[in-house]
Amino acid sequence: MATLLQPEKVLYLVRGEKKIRVPLSQLYFCRYCSELRSLECVSHEVDSHFCPSCLENMPSAEAKLKKNRCANCFDCPCCMHTLSTRATNIPAPLPDDPTKTTMKKAYYLACGFCRWTSRDVGMADKSVASGGWQEPENPHTQRINKLIEYYQQLAQREKLERDRKKLARRRPFMPQAFSTHVVLQRQRSGAPISALYGLSLKEGEDQKEITIESAQALDEVEPLPEDYYTRPVNLPEVTTLRQRLLQPDFQPAGASQLHPRHKHLLMKRSLRCRKCEHNLSKPEFNPTSIKFKIQLVAVSYIPEVRIMSIPNLRHLKESQVLLTLTNPVENITHVSLYTCEEGDPDDINSTAKVLVPSKELVLAGKDAAAEYDELAEPQGFQDDPDVVAFRKSNKIGFFIKVIPQREEGDVTVAFKLRHDFRNLAAPIRPTEEGEATSEAIWLTHHVELSLGPLAT
């Protein structure tokens, strides 16, 4: 029974730039466009950075400076778990009297999962609990920084020249190339003004010329040691590729050179509809909070179809499948189902014919207080017992008839779900007559169910 609650069995079609079929729980609903949106047809923006182990927020500028790594937490270089600081008491001579020893606390890093310790790579114990640990310095940092500066300057110069050329031809849109910002910048119609602004600033600045030496090619390469092929491999000492590539600066081949690195930051992202530029999902700023400031997810607007029970399906024999429909909104929703017509371009996966109830199904509104109310008040809906199996607050169970058309393979059916949607978003045009604040619009979705294999 638990397998039938898997949401991947019921897919809703999203008509975006690409046609995507995803379960409703992974979709968003733009209530300004009144359309379903999937993760691929929204733009993702970085909201805030935080460390997953110490849950510390970090402003984006600081994150960029620290290369998106936390200052306090370390990752085990062996198994990538978070390292914890442990303390031992070591006898240490008193500074005043070398003959007496007193217990001093020494701290070392240890991994709880693979039991790696900082002593394994020869890092000495530190006397402070945090802040004493340094990452090894990359020997090539200076050269790399110089190269980056040089190329940044070159890129700016090229961008200026290109902007000048484009201004001369008076093009209205400027694609922002060579942008050093992490956030993707969208096309704006006010671009010529900002480009001009940029030009005037740069001309006033005194540009410092940065030159770099070109890299020298060497003829002589250090020869391999003579026993390279004959020396037996010490397997515990060899690092795995994953361990090696997590430290691209050094890529140590030996496990005794694996130093811990600072932990990567995670980010919270906000989603924005590409057509109307409204936010679909905006998380809270606080890393410990899982709530959202704006959460326009599809399951809170669109009725959800779930499979409740599947009988034995046989080739070309009609069987009844029990589905449930849940109403997520607080007012009554009317749902009608239609079979897909012949030659429907969306209907590519179905392998069975389906007969859906022809009458309109009425779903009661979701009443948050109803679960605490023990008396189930009769809701006064006249249900056809052939169609509706049961009714429970905002959910009904109904039957569809499935006739598998193929002898082998999984049975997949598709149908259209049409329901009324009351837009509670603030209307752009104020209603003049003072009638009901929202009017219902009818939305149609294409739903596909995968009912599993035929009964043998």
Binding site: C79, F113, C114, R115, W116, T117, R119, D120, P236, A255
Partner: protein, 191 residues
């Protein structure tokens, strides 16, 4: 004769703390300063078990000297092999150990399974939920971890759990009845 050895005597040295709720069957010898939690099971079916000193055997741990799978228990030509466990080992909650020879300072973490043909030397750590049923001698100071039972060698052996043992030896008698130890239980007054 065979029935006598099967029901065997459990010899618990003085200083060991063995709770009454633990299930010890067969010919088992338990050393001093060893703590056996309630619901631990030590079963010596196919031979005696000798457990050294300073070991910590936690709840629902199973140390079993069982017959190898392809030999029937009634066959007469099976020699009883002794399972020996060294000192300062830790058998965490729910682990299963059938290894015939375990050295010192090993840690078998929760729900780990160690097969009969494995020999743990010293300082080995078998990680949680790892199953080791190869036929080999595990090198000293090896750590077996992860869902794929990856291995690595650490430079120092795990510390013996002396603090934990001392604490348990004080606290457990307050809440559980203990099995009687062999020597030094009731010393008659000497004149």
């Amino acid at each position: 004769l065979s029935e006598e050895t099967e029901s065997g005597v459990v010899k618990i040295a003085a200083g060991a703390v063995v709770c009454v709720e633990s299930d010890i069957r067969g010919d088992v010898t338990i050393g001093a300063r060893t703590v056996v939690h309630p619901k631990a099971r030590i079963i010596a079916e196919a031979g005696p078990i000798v457990i050294g000193e300073g070991n910590l055997i936690e709840e629902q741990a199973l140390i079993i000297n069982s017959y190898p799978e392809n030999i029937l228990p009634d066959a007469e030509d099976v020699e009883p092999k002794t399972m020996s466990i060294g000192i300062n080992n830790v058998f965490e909650v729910g682990c299963v150990s059938q290894a015939l020879k375990i050295g010192d300072n090993n840690v078998i973490e929760s729900k780990a399974e160690v097969g009969r043909n494995v020999i743990l030397s010293s300082g080995c750590i078998v990680g949680a939920c790892c199953q080791v049923n190869t036929c080999e001698v595990i090198q000293e100071n090896t750590v077996i971890y992860g869902s794929e039972c990856l291995r690595r060698v650490q430079t120092e052996r795990p510390q013996p759990q002396t603090l934990q043992l001392d604490f348990l030896m004080k606290i457990l008698p307050n809440y559980h009845h203990l099995k009687k130890t062999v020597k030094g239980n009731s010393t008659p007054a000497r004149s």
